[in-house]
Symmetry: C2
Subunit: 568 residues, 2 copies
């Protein structure tokens, strides 16, 4: 029981020296990768750079204790940072103390919500974010994020709340572009794109193992940071209008609870829920993918608790919302991490960087961080998914396009809400008119298939219908219509058999409809039978009056029904 809520107890007992050295190597590599990411995503969220570092310390230690994935790495990620900026931008000006306070409160609330959901085992709620909605949302967010960084690449100011206003503002101020800043930004983007495409292959040709090469290549942003920082220093570009990170307070944050502000907290509740849920979906999907590679087990409800407490920890230590990141977890995995202890060691690495490295990045140009963000998020754009979704399902495509357009035009939360609503409504519309097939026997077998698709034999006077859906309120009356139509079309019918292998449950409405069908058929001299009713469905039916009133019988198999009812 205790080890269910504290998974650390499971793996800590067998922790040994060889596991430690594997974890330590992974931790060094992830630390190097995480420093620029933490700084960049803080910039994206509109927060001071050190907040990104704080959010990469306590959450990792807490996940080590509560997490069930052996390799997941939590911390600031792009989409959650965008959502943070969007949620708190309404309440405070970027750079103000209120803005930082709101970001901290957001992480705190988001964490409490996730942890509470985990304790109540409500993880399944995240499933209502369907793949097309998530994918559409992330694609749209990536565009928003990349566009939002253009101001740092050009070195100009951009105003306005909606995307349209910002595009207008950027076009106007483009003439003020700082050419040095632009040069740094373009060079950094070009280098990072090249590194992403070709560096890993180069390292392999230089003799590195495949997985290590991949992990090292992910450290390219560090190289970009060092080179551009040195360039700014050597050419004194900070005095020529190139925006730099500037002074970062040294030392670690002192833990403190966020100030309680009922009005603000109430307004942040929905954004906190949205950020938490979307972050959780990403987390669980990364964790499952990596766990499967080693046949490890993830507990989705415990992951809610782990991600929740990690966010609370982030808030208490002055950080902003965190999530399990895809690329950093893959790097952690490829670099050979074996337990969440690697995360705790990464946290130590970030803490050391916060203590001793911050003076060195005073001259780090913001354009380099913006370049890191742009290159990172553009890999999130899934244009291919649009095409494959269109080919596979028009209604999923509609939900996806609704999410993309909603997110771009109306903002991130509205976009997600539109997507979720659209996918629910489209599903319900689909399920309302289930596929019903008239079936007959495939000659020489005991198999029954659709008369329209196969050459089959039917018995005169017996109508066998296979309903390809659970019977519940959206389709209950449709079944009544179908049966009514069928028997009014053929006055010879004496028996109707509903074949139920695909009926997984029958709700009260459908039970009422079956009862109606039974009585109506009886009124017109036809008997109603059921066949192949599943165990759990039968258990329930046996509690009702329906079986007593049923004019016909319940047959174990359609073949048995056909044999007994066929006129001899």
């Amino acid at each position: 029981m205790l080890s269910r809520y504290l998974p650390v107890l499971n793996w800590a007992k067998t922790y040994d020296g060889s596991t430690f050295s594997a974890d330590a190597v992974a931790a060094v590599i992830v630390t190097v990768m995480l420093i620029p990411q933490s700084l960049a995503y803080a910039l994206l969220a509109g927060l001071p750079p050190e907040v990104g570092l704080y959010a990469s310390i306590a959450p990792l230690v807490i996940y080590t204790i509560f997490g069930t994935s052996m390799t997941l790495a939590v911390g600031p990620v792009a989409v959650a940072s965008l959502m943070t900026a969007s949620a708190i931008g309404e309440f405070a000006a970027v750079g103000s103390a209120e803005y930082l306070g709101a970001a901290i409160a957001l992480a705190f609330l988001s964490g409490l919500i996730l942890a509470a959901m985990g304790l109540m085992r409500l993880g399944f709620l995240s499933n209502f974010l369907s793949h097309p909605v998530i994918s559409g949302f992330i694609t749209a967010s990536a565009f928003l994020i990349a566009f939002g960084q253009m101001k740092h690449i050009l070195g100009v100011e951009v105003h306005g709340h909606t995307l349209l206003e910002q595009v207008g503002s950027l076009t106007q101020s483009a003439s003020d572009t700082n050419l040095r800043t632009l040069a740094i930004g373009i060079a950094a983007i070009a280098f990072l794109v090249w590194a992403r495409r070709s560096l890993s292959g180069l390292l392999v040709r230089m003799g590195l193992a495949n997985d290590r090469a991949g992990a090292f290549a992910k450290a390219a942003p560090v190289v970009a940071i060092i080179v551009t920082t040195l360039a700014v220093w050597a050419l004194k570009m900070d005095a020529q209008g190139v925006a730099v990170v500037g002074d970062i307070p040294r030392g670690l944050p002192r833990p403190s609870l966020p100030a309680f502000d009922p009005e603000l907290w109430l307004s942040l509740l929905m954004p906190a829920f949205a950020i938490g849920l979307i972050g959780y979906v990403e987390t669980i999907s990364v964790a499952q993918t990596l766990a499967a590679k080693r046949r490890e087990r993830i507990d989705p409800d415990q992951e809610l608790i782990a991600l929740g407490t990690a966010n609370v920890g982030s808030a208490v230590s002055g950080g902003f919302p965190v999530t399990g990141g895809f690329s950093r977890s893959v790097v952690n995995f490829d670099a050979g991490a074996r337990t969440p202890a690697a995360g705790a060691m990464t946290a130590m690495g970030i803490a050391l960087a916060t203590l001793f490295l911050t003076p060195l990045i005073f001259l780090l140009p913001k354009a380099t961080l913006a370049a890191t963000i742009i290159v990172a998020v553009l890999s999130l754009v899934e244009m291919k998914t649009l095409r494959t979704t269109w080919a596979y399902s028009k209604s999923d495509f509609a939900a996806m396009m609704g999410t993309i357009l909603g997110t771009l035009a109306l903002g991130v939360e509205t976009g997600v809400a539109i997507g979720v609503l659209a996918s629910l409504l489209l599903f319900l519309a689909r399920t309302a008119k289930p596929h019903v097939a008239v079936v007959g026997r495939v000659p020489g077998t005991e198999h029954y298939r659709n008369v329209l698709r196969h050459k089959v034999e039917t018995s005169p006077g017996v109508l066998s219908l296979r309903v390809d859906e659970s019977l519940y309120f959206p389709n209950a009356r449709h079944l009544e219509d179908t049966v009514n139509d069928a028997i009014s079309a053929d006055p010879e019918i004496k028996h109707v058999v509903l074949m139920c292998p695909a009926v997984n449950f029958i709700d009260t409405s459908a039970l009422e409809s079956l009862d109606q069908i039974n009585h109506r058929l009886l009124d017109s001299g036809v008997k109603l039978h059921l066949s192949e009713v599943k165990g759990p469905v039968m258990d329930r039916l046996e509690k009702t009056e329906f079986l007593k009133h049923l004019s016909g019988r319940v047959f174990l198999s359609q073949y048995e029904a056909d044999c007994k009812l066929r006129p001899s």
Copy 2:
């Protein structure tokens, strides 16, 4: 094509003398029953009595032309009248010209919405009103209606908008009770309850045929009206505080379009939709029940058009929202009506009554009409359904109680909205964690059943899972969890077979999950197979990359999969 939208063309060509006399007899009986009902439901809607008569003329003629049921009788009904009063009470004072105008506009809008839905074949939308929600709503409405008539029985004034305020107001004014009014009310209720219980039996013992006796017994309200009107006249009770119907304008309404008031119409849109949809559900359910008795066919989408045009007709002729009534349709059926022509003849009967009988009901006491309403609606209360629903499904019971309490406490529209939302959410929560069974072969057969429920044989290294639900976004990741858990629990597994007889469709999210499962299993050295995939599902899968990447095979039957994969 023409006869699809004008069903009258189908039956009119074979119309003959014997059909005419059958229809005429039924029309006389229904007319006698409909006069008091029309007056009473106008009173319930807070409208002048003649409006009830108007609503029983044009709609019946229109339904004769557009309706597909041979026996349905449309007109004012209790629940729609309550909803009318509730919807327009916000905009105008009872008795004002604006109030009547709003009622007419409501019927007009409701009719347009229904007709438009019929043309767009959106009848399935009505299915989202599940049986428990409808039943809970009608039970709660019946209480509201019966309570609302208490003021007429006591002869007092009642103020207040919410149920609680009205209860308080009634308690305060109970001391002003007019004893003569109360005496009439109680006597009428007692007589009507007796008639409902015993009159039909008495008539049968007096030699009447069963169905005719039932139809005649339904005319008891007419007897109550005649007797109490005579009593008021003989004892001059109208001068002693007994409220009577009073002067009713003679003559038929002149057709006119309702005045266009954009603001009012916009506010009435939702109520009009709700009244239309609930009326439609009642209509279609009565029509189906009666049609089945004679193997006749109902076209649900054409019924929307018929009910819609009937409501437009009601509005144009000065009436209020109408619906297919349950008891009057049964009387029409029992009295032998064969075609909708009976409805047109009933309309003629009501028109004659409007022209010549109205002076005779000047002294009709309102308490008698209130008694008719109370006795009629109390038969709508379904306490038994509460019990059976509780026994069959706790979540359906929750939706039902939500509707009842919502309707009583917050009003009719809010009540319905709560019920629909609750039933959707409860359904989605249920479907999110589908039943997944590990299956094995029933010895000596080719049948595969749940290993936990049956004594079955399984093959070592082969895990066969039967998923009892369509695979779509709310449960897609649950399947990933289930498969991950299963293979991490048993390192011996080499093959996973998903048996899919109950999988009726696979959406993009679930396809993505299957792809993930396939890759994750491959990573851990396990092959994924499918068996018993349905035709339509397979058609879709063949359009995707999934089958190319599938590490295993798609087997026609689970038996075939087991034979091929079993280690020999």
